[in-house]
């Protein structure tokens, strides 16, 4: 999400699935869309019917490849090299959309003179502090203008803080930035980007990625010829891009391409982030995430000072819609603490607890292992199978004092204390595990009202069909009644730490025998109301004086006019193709973000074929096929006066209204931990060194120094030959995530009845693997077994001068349910992307050998022995490049 957020201003898919039919070229990369978003994929097929080119770029030939115009094989983890090559191609061959780039992006902005690029520093940017292991980003800033960090980032800059970056950073008003409209100044963004990717030639791409020069050139040309005024292209990506230590930068590369080609904000253009769960978008918007508050406001940090005013100062931008952060936070505080929140007490701002730089889930697992986290509530998730390094997860669970698991079935996370690989091996013994466990059956989606936010930011209401049975309850019921009981218990408390609970507004009406709280009442609070209690219609009506309350400012409008807009079900055949009256999308029911960019400086569509929104000079407003993502009445030639603030400071020609300068950011001066531009780095575990730079892997990636998370030797270190194959993990249509919703379901278990490992015939021959037989796959963490599937869809890659095989594993299996099997995450590690703390399970290394795995204590013995041998080789042989200061195990 920070990849899109820092580039455009909002961290969410810029487009909607049906718009795929309007694309002339579709790139599916880091995604197997036909497999994992099958019904959404119908829109790709519609596009093909209309003559679009569909390209699938992936390590494997999959169901998506089978329906694409062309599949290009790619080494897992080499995506930035490939896409960087595309950027280079666009710039070298003059293929960018010039009017768009000059006017709507920051290509013309000049960067400060102390900036040094990875080309100058052999894989590092200026400002690297090897002792602290992070960047001082001061030298990355625009020349002549101090750029302040994204909302919540503190002045100090030396903290490795992650700005969520779902929104853009802000510019402090001072002198205007230096710009070169000719795009020729050596330090303008355009020229910096050109130099940065200059060595990403087709030949380098072919070598780094294992594709051919012809394939690459075909694709680059296909992409370019399908962009511009008359034609547009869309990118679709999923966790094949996010689950890398360079995940955010990977997405950024696509953002750069799309800005250069002028595809953002256009019909059939944009970037369709394909998210994986029914409401994962909703769970980041209204976040059950540690570092943000609803609407991408930041949680206050232990280092923050200055109370509410200080928080607002740091969170705001003087320009753009983040200039109204004060209204958003005050309205949220009013929603949560109601009458108790007054101007005198800063609206109960001090009630908010403070976060550290990193309190993310993998950090929590480390805390569990150290005995600091004692209680854990898990609702609708299965970390014993679904999170990286399964063994570390389960060892962590065994250290808890108490655990609550809420789910439909008894998932692995609930049963770890008597049924797990560690119980089988003897590493854990049931009688020695102190963890108290509560399993609570959950209500299904058919047993509750509520809304999901899908991958295109659309809030869709699901109606309750039947009552839940016996002890089954919704999470709404559970947390509501938990809160009610807590309030009752703390009612008489005199301890000030209990004030936030005592003052919390919690009077949702309930109904029925089980006293189910009203989901619609909660949605109404999320939408917000004014001081007469009337539902607010739009976020621009929010105020900072305490007269409005709003649980999530980006959702404001979903309950406008007291109508549940998310529950609108007007059939698609009764409306136009944007279907604005089915459900409701944030923000303000806009379907294509940044759609001002679909029109030129005069407000006229770039072409009739690609019209979307335009300026109606007679009516003096923006209009069109979509809700304009722009101030409806702001004319295209509006020039903000010098003292303009907030949204008024955004010009009529600036489509990226959440950004401080209203521009799409090709170069990101602030907001990301690992660079203003994407750079090819090898994965944390890889058979190869970096062909481009001395800096092998992302210097800023998070690695752990814990016994439970050991790493394989890499590149040309001794011992890496014991884990010589590239391992990638992925998903199947018939199963879902960690299996809790599919391995316990009859039909789905029949359709995909066994865990398997995919290998190319050459690898099978090399290792003695038999199709249909068994194989054991091992890493420094653990080993699992799987049935062997020999297929030439798994290609070896010729890269860095040699051939390396790739091994593929679906990750759905665990040891419980109707279909059981080895858990791929028992093999993976917890090294993370520094911006979002997501694990790198798309590219790592492994060993594979024929036969079933050892049983009982022989399993950890086997794993330990192999690892010890590898480490002995490493100790005796060549070490990793000195510039790579991170520990590797």
């Amino acid at each position: 999400m920070p990849g899109l957020g820092t580039s455009f201003g909002r961290g969410g898919a810029t487009d909607y699935q049906q718009d795929l039919q309007n694309a002339d070229v579709i790139t599916i990369m880091g995604s197997n869309m036909a497999e994992n978003h099958p019904v959404g994929f119908q829109w790709v097929l519609e596009a093909r019917e209309r003559g679009a080119t569909v390209v699938h770029i992936d390590p494997r030939f999959t169901r998506t490849s089978a329906l694409a115009t062309k599949h290009i094989g790619l080494r897992a983890g080499s995506d930035i090299a490939f896409l960087g090559g595309v950027v280079n191609y666009i710039l070298e061959n003059d293929r960018w959309f010039d009017d768009y780039v000059r006017n709507y992006t920051n290509a013309r902005v000049i960067i400060g003179e102390r900036f040094a690029d990875t080309e100058d520093l052999d894989g590092l940017f200026s400002g690297w502090d090897p002792e602290q292991g992070l960047y001082d980003t001061t030298t990355w800033q625009y020349s002549g203008m101090p750029v302040h960090g994204a909302a919540g980032q503190r002045e100090l800059g030396f903290k490795g803080e992650q700005s969520h970056g779902a929104h853009g950073a802000h510019l402090k008003h001072g002198e205007p930035p230096e710009e070169d409209w000719n795009l020729e100044h050596p330090r303008c963004v355009f020229q910096i980007v050109k130099r940065h990717f200059a060595r990403y030639t087709p030949e380098l791409v072919a070598d780094a990625c294992g594709c051919t020069v012809e394939e690459f050139l075909w694709y680059a040309e296909e992409l370019c010829r399908n962009s511009g005024r008359e034609r547009t292209g869309m990118f679709c990506y999923a966790v094949g891009w996010t689950q890398h230590t360079v995940g955010v930068q990977l997405i950024r590369t696509a953002a750069i391409i799309q800005l250069l080609l002028g595809n953002i904000g256009r019909p059939g253009g944009g970037i369709l982030a394909l998210r994986g769960h029914a409401s994962i978008q909703g769970s980041t918007d209204i976040p059950t995430l540690y570092n943000i508050l609803p609407g991408y406001l930041t949680m206050p940090h232990t280092d923050d000072y200055g109370g509410l005013d200080g928080y607002i100062e740091r969170s705001s931008s003087t320009t753009g819609w983040w200039g109204r952060a004060d209204a958003y936070i005050v309205s949220l505080l009013k929603a949560w603490w109601g009458a108790a929140a007054t101007p005198e007490n800063e609206f109960c701002f001090s009630y908010l607890p403070r976060i550290d730089d990193d309190n993310s889930n993998y950090w929590t697992v480390g805390q569990m292992l150290e005995g600091n986290v004692k209680g854990y509530i898990v609702a609708g998730e299965n970390p014993a199978v679904g999170s990286a390094n399964g063994k570390a997860q389960r060892l962590g669970l065994a250290k808890l004092e108490w655990l609550v698991v809420r789910d439909f079935v008894e998932i692995e996370t609930a049963a770890f204390w008597y049924d797990s690989p560690e119980i089988e091996s003897g590493e854990l013994r049931t009688e020695e595990i102190a963890t108290e466990v509560f399993f609570m059956p959950a209500a299904s989606h058919l047993e509750k009202d509520g809304s999901f936010t899908n991958t295109q930011r659309l809030l869709q209401w699901h109606f309750k069909a039947v009552e839940p049975k016996h002890d089954c309850r919704s999470e709404l019921w559970f947390y509501f009644h938990l809160g009610k009981l807590l309030k009752a218990k703390l009612k008489e408390s005199q301890d000030p730490r209990d004030l936030p609970i005592q003052d919390l507004t919690w009077a949702y009406p309930t109904s029925g025998q089980i006293e189910e709280p009203s989901a619609e009442a909660v949605l109404a609070e999320i939408n917000g109301w004014d001081d007469t209690g009337r539902a607010l219609a739009a976020y621009k009506l929010l105020k900072a004086d305490g007269t409005t309350a709003c649980g999530c400012w980006i959702y404001c409008g979903v309950f406008a006019g007291e109508e549940n807009m998310a529950a609108r079900k007007k059939p698609h055949w009764e409306q136009g193709s944007t279907a604005l009256e089915w459900a409701w999308a944030w923000p303000a029911n806009r379907r294509v973000l940044y759609n001002r960019a679909s029109a030129d400086l005069d407000g006229k569509p770039w072409s009739e074929r690609k019209e979307l929104v335009w300026w109606d000079a007679e009516q003096k407003k923006w209009t069109g096929h979509d809700t304009p993502d722009f101030d409806e009445e702001k004319p295209p030639d509006y020039a903000p006066p010098d003292d303009a603030e907030g949204p008024d400071a955004i010009a009529g020609s600036h489509p990226f209204i959440m950004q401080a300068d209203g521009l799409g950011w090709i170069y990101v001066p602030q907001g990301l931990e690992d660079g203003p531009l994407p750079t090819h780095y090898e994965p944390h575990e890889s058979p190869f060194g970096n062909a481009l730079y001395r800096q092998r892997a992302n210097p800023r990636r998070q690695v752990n120094d814990m016994a439970e998370d050991p790493y394989n030797p890499v590149a040309d270190e001794g011992g890496s030959e014991l884990y010589p194959y590239v391992l990638t993990t992925y998903r199947l249509t018939e199963h879902h995530t960690a299996g809790g919703m599919s391995r316990f379901v009859g039909y789905l278990s029949e359709l995909q009845p066994a865990m398997f490992v995919e290998v190319h015939p050459d690898l099978a021959r090399e290792r003695g693997l038999e199709h249909g037989g068994w194989a054991t796959i091992a890493t420094a963490r653990s080993a699992i077994e799987a049935r062997v599937l020999v297929t030439d869809r798994m290609r070896p890659v010729r890269s860095n001068g040699r051939t390396v095989h790739q091994v593929g594993l679906p990750y759905h299996w665990g040891w419980r349910g109707l279909t059981t099997g080895g858990a791929a995450n028992d093999l993976t590690h917890m090294a993370l992307d520094p911006n979002v703390h997501i694990q790198e399970v798309k590219a790592l290394t492994c060993d594979i050998r024929p036969g079933r795995r050892p049983r009982g204590p022989a399993l950890p013995a086997f794993v330990t022995e192999l690892r010890a041998r590898a480490y002995a080789e490493r100790a005796g042989g060549k070490h990793v490049e000195p510039s790579d200061t991170r520990k590797t195990g």
């Binding site: 019904v39 409401s279 999470e475 999320i526 059939p571 009859g746």
Partner: protein, 186 residues
Amino acid sequence: MRLVNSWPVVRQVREGDPLGLGKSARSPRSERLAPRTAEADHVVQSICPYCAVGCGQLAYVKSGEVIQVEGDPASPISRGRLCPKGAASKSLHSGPLREYKVKYRRPYGTHWEELPLEQAMDMIVERILRTRDETWQEETPEGKPGKRTMGIANLGGATLDNEENYLIKKLLTALGVVQVENQARI
């Protein structure tokens, strides 16, 4: 003779249905067949709980039970289709492995025990407050403001409703729990 005349092959020839795809493939039994959905008392519009495409679903209800789940043709995104997972929603909802009762494992216990729901809620509340007290950080070890408990964590959200995520974040933040996380980061 009647037996011979009712033989499908004979009927194919006689009734002008040489490919056996029409009239001759029908029988009194097949005439009486109807989709389960025709028996429903009412139909409820829902949304698929699996991936983020967000297909529309129609839940057919009879006598308080869901008898089938089909795609919702009205949805502009899915236009009535469902993938194998969405199509299996009824099994997800009422399959034989689904749990309906609270289960409790005591410390060092070797088996599950029964526990009334209400008692489970009281016990959980008690543990939350106890752990919160034991691990409260008014200030961090460096003396900075904390106002939090570092001993409790919550995981989950991507499979839950917006309204549920909202209550989770709201309640836990007010309790001082900062380690609130979900699948978006996994």
